[in-house]
Subunit: 257 residues, 3 copies
């Protein structure tokens, strides 16, 4: 299913991607992540390696306090449970009241009808970014018009896969970085969503910021894969690559069409 | 306490172990793991490195949907809480309705009477595999006849320790691989249970499959220990070793009596 | 805010620190940690690398059984939720009944009023050790007299920062080890609290034991940083350094004023 409404596909420059990365490193945004229990530690470490700051509490009575002082909110629906279902709407309201971007990653909505319904209800809040794969997209939005309406309202879609597509009311991006080893480590997609959330917090253009964040993460993944002997050594290499990522690293590897 | 009923102890061949491993890699079974919060990320990464696919939600209202499409179910009783106690019976019923193997790891039943009672009640469902250490075995089954009754009904027992014993209605195995460094990393036993669960999903002979799975995991542990400088570097080495494990690796190291 | 009541600042010797470390390695104390979901796996692995044993269940109906047989209790208030709030008082009572040290790490009380109130209530139990940073200290104890009263009652305070201060009814310590990379890995502070808890379990002098434990952890951090290419490789290096830490390592690096 193509998402394109009427936007033109833009190419990313290494300069633009690196400027966004430097902004994140300088501003050190705090990303509050309500994420699944499998992804929490890895997501926190990815954010710290990037230069951002994680916070992760999910308790409904504490979450508004944490979110209102954060720079971005990530909602990831993996291991969705009663506590998370209670805190997510509270967190979204707190973020939107404070004018912070809200990024939603509706993990595995294609495996659970109750989760799909919950994710659908979240779309009423018009999140700034929805990150999902093709199967999740088709389950969550059986009608193309629903996606178009959200895009028209300002939501950015990041549809990940072999090729990643960023689609928005303004410009679109097709991104070609990444490595198959990333799929052999749990929660890389979830952590990538957190990176995009950090990037959306430092710039007004959420589509461009998302494209830059996803490119940074996938280029770090390529560098890590080139140094790793398997999915075990890939994890520390990924964190190190993200921590040390330079303009040259981006210039050599960036692929967008 | 000896478990042996009347079965004969079999030797494993490297060829058999490798064929099972290749089956797992080709079929890429999905293992749904209701496991403890300390083990979740490591278990997911071990399954991915093996070539299997993890899913891990524990919410009672979602778990049946996840389990009914999975290839095996792992129940690990670490950090047992109200949510897990609610979802475990639902998950077992979903797995058995779908004809999928159920593997139970009654972690620390010797430290909690309430957990021991819960684990005992689970035995009514006659799981395909029960994995535990000697202390847990003696606490859970003070009467030898209880174990014999389960074995007679088809349950496979994997009693881990310096020497691992697989006992079943058919054949028994004594396995001698592994390394002390594995005990200096949290949740290696839990992750090993997930590997066995993946193996039981690809073959009808659950005792042989369990023996092959445990051997693969412990041989990867030996290789990792030979390359590691301590328990920290052991973790990425274990994942890499599992990911790259070859017939030669197994042939050189396999020890069964 | 200075904490000092009337104690004199002591210098640590490498010999003393190493003797404490060897005690932990020989006695292999079990630390029951009610800690946040982001820190659980890393904390367990740090304790195992140190030579201690972790247990981590948080279920209110199981926790007393686990704690009463443990050698120390760590209460970390990260990701505080209803289950943790229910189990923490039960755990503290079980530990104090059994005569075991109780260590409290009131993470982020400066970000959540409800958590601050909960932490304040815990102080009534007069924990053996309170570990926190300067911002958390000022939020939790706006009045200096409150800290003084706790110190007079026997509580040890470990205030971490660029310089770490251990303050007690008896002696005080100023510790100068550590490395900035430790702040780029999630839950290093939390894991450091677990190391201190292990040390307090093997000696009567909780201030000295805490100072030795924190020095061991921070020296391992320095060694890891000297070998790491970033925060990713830092993690396995830290665990390996802790596992292999020698008298010479301590002698060369120990800095206390």
């Amino acid at each position: 299913m193509s998402l394109s409404v009427a936007a033109s596909t833009q190419s990313l420059s290494a300069q633009t991607v690196f400027e966004h990365l430097q902004d994140v490193r300088l501003k050190s945004p705090r990303v509050h992540a309500i994420t699944n229990s499998v992804a929490q530690t890895f997501t926190a470490n990815i954010l710290l390696a990037l230069g951002a700051v994680p916070s992760m509490t999910i308790a409904p009575d504490e979450v508004a306090g944490f979110v209102s002082g954060a720079d971005a909110l990530l909602i990831n629906l993996g291991t969705l449970d009663e506590i998370r279902r209670g805190s997510i709407p509270v967190a979204i309201e707190a973020a939107q009241t404070a004018g912070r971007p809200v990024c939603v990653d509706p993990v595995f909505v294609n495996r659970s009808a109750i989760r799909c319904k919950f994710a659908k209800d979240l779309m009423v809040s018009k999140p700034d970014l929805v990150r999902l794969n093709g199967a999740e997209l088709e389950t969550l939005f059986p009608e193309r018009t629903e996606v178009e309406a959200l895009i028209a309202a300002g939501t950015v879609f990041a549809v990940t896969g072999e090729e990643d597509k960023i689609e928005s009311r303004g410009e679109d991006f097709r991104l070609l970085n990444g490595h198959p080893l990333m799929a052999r480590v749990t929660a890389t997609g979830c952590a990538g969503g957190a990176v995009m959330a950090a990037f959306t917090s430092v710039r007004a253009d959420k589509a461009l910021a998302s494209a830059c964040g996803l490119s940074v993460f996938n280029i770090a993944g390529e560098i890590a894969a080139s140094r790793a002997a398997g999915p075990g050594s890939f994890v520390p290499e990924l964190l190190d690559a993200l921590y040390t990522l330079s303009f040259q690293d981006i210039e050599i590897r960036l692929k967008s069409a």
